[in-house]
Symmetry: C2
Subunit: 184 residues, 2 copies
DNA sequence: TTAAAAATGTTGTTTATCCAACACATATAG
DNA sequence: CTATATGTGTTGGATAAACAACATTTTTAA
């Protein structure tokens, strides 16, 4: 385990910036938030912002990934398998995350957000698959992870759009047999 | 007005340290608080502590002065005179401050705290006296400020010790005529 | 359309913070 | 007594953060 301890100043400042951004996101839309706003709120120098992030879009990506990771509680799946329980848990994490986001007014960036979610899901699924199928063809597992990520994400989109009278749990559960036992 | 803006890092770090110290003071006695405790709580490096403060006693002094200053609301007296109203206000500020302290367990440092309070009082009184008696003998005003500081402080000690059935306002008010109109 | 104002990114220099290491003092226990 | 541990205060070198200045681009208003 390579643990190159990161300088506490970095962790502190990144946290200041991210917290400031989330605070501002609750008040105004993404398109109205400037770098100056963020550095004012975070009480750091504007140049320091650019030391940590490419630009405001880079910040958006990293904040979303981080919040999503917390929602996914990645460590919890670190040592478990893909099964009915974990699939339901992940699916509800996604729907919760999206509900939380919808209050935060990131209109116009749905596609970015969607990509981030799928990327995170892909990572999580791939890890679980590799653990579950040691020694098997990595490429096949990779493609499977991609399809699972898109599938789960798509299901969450459709659930939000159409069927909110069914709980997320019930919604995804109806498809699980086909996932777990195969289409045949 | 010379306003040499201080580096925001300094303000931040000092606040972290002071907040950490006050937080710890609520939990354990002063004698059981180590520098390491403080820097852990403040999430800063131990060496950084010594960049800002001589030692833990220096920190104690500065925290108390600052808290006291806030209690005294120094600016409020900045442009006013010594009269019945301000004397009562200052006296109650002191008694409030000491009540707040007594919950914070600084046992064994009463004398240090007393000195800090008197020093602060002296500064406040001297400023008010100078404004009130422009052009008069500074030394006389200085000594008067010293006596007022000791007197007001002593009165607060005696009030705490003996007469808590009288309000601070009533207690000090009984002596104000002799202060304002003189002993004769 | 144009001029002023505000936001973005970048750069070089200075300063505050981090870190590891040190000598020294003060317990605490075997 | 002695060894082990814990706290104090200091140092030198490395690095993150502050700051001011600049050229560009984008917004805003007139």
């Amino acid at each position: 385990m390579s643990e190159a301890k990161t300088d506490p100043r970095i962790l502190r400042t990144r946290k200041f910036i991210m917290d400031a951004f989330m605070e501002l996101s609750a008040k105004k839309e993404f398109k109205d938030i400037t770098v100056k706003d963020i550095t004012n709120e975070a009480m750091i120098n504007r140049a320091t912002f650019y030391y940590h992030f490419e630009d405001i879009y880079d910040l958006l990506e990293k904040v979303l990934s981080e919040v999503l990771l917390i929602n996914l509680d990645c460590n919890a799946y670190e040592n478990s398998e893909i099964n009915e329980e974990t699939l339901i848990s992940i699916f509800t994490a996604i729907t919760n995350f999206q509900n939380a986001l919808s209050n935060r007014c990131h209109r116009g960036y749905e596609e970015t957000i969607a990509r981030i979610i799928r990327e995170q899901l892909e990572v999580v699924f791939y890890r679980m698959l590799v653990r579950q199928h040691e020694g098997e063809d990595k490429e096949g597992l990779q493609v499977t992870a991609v399809m699972l990520a898109w599938g789960i994400y798509g299901a969450s989109v459709e659930w939000r759009r159409n069927v909110k009278d069914v709980t997320p749990e019930a919604y995804i559960q109806s498809a699980i047999p086909y996932l777990m036992k195969g289409l045949s």
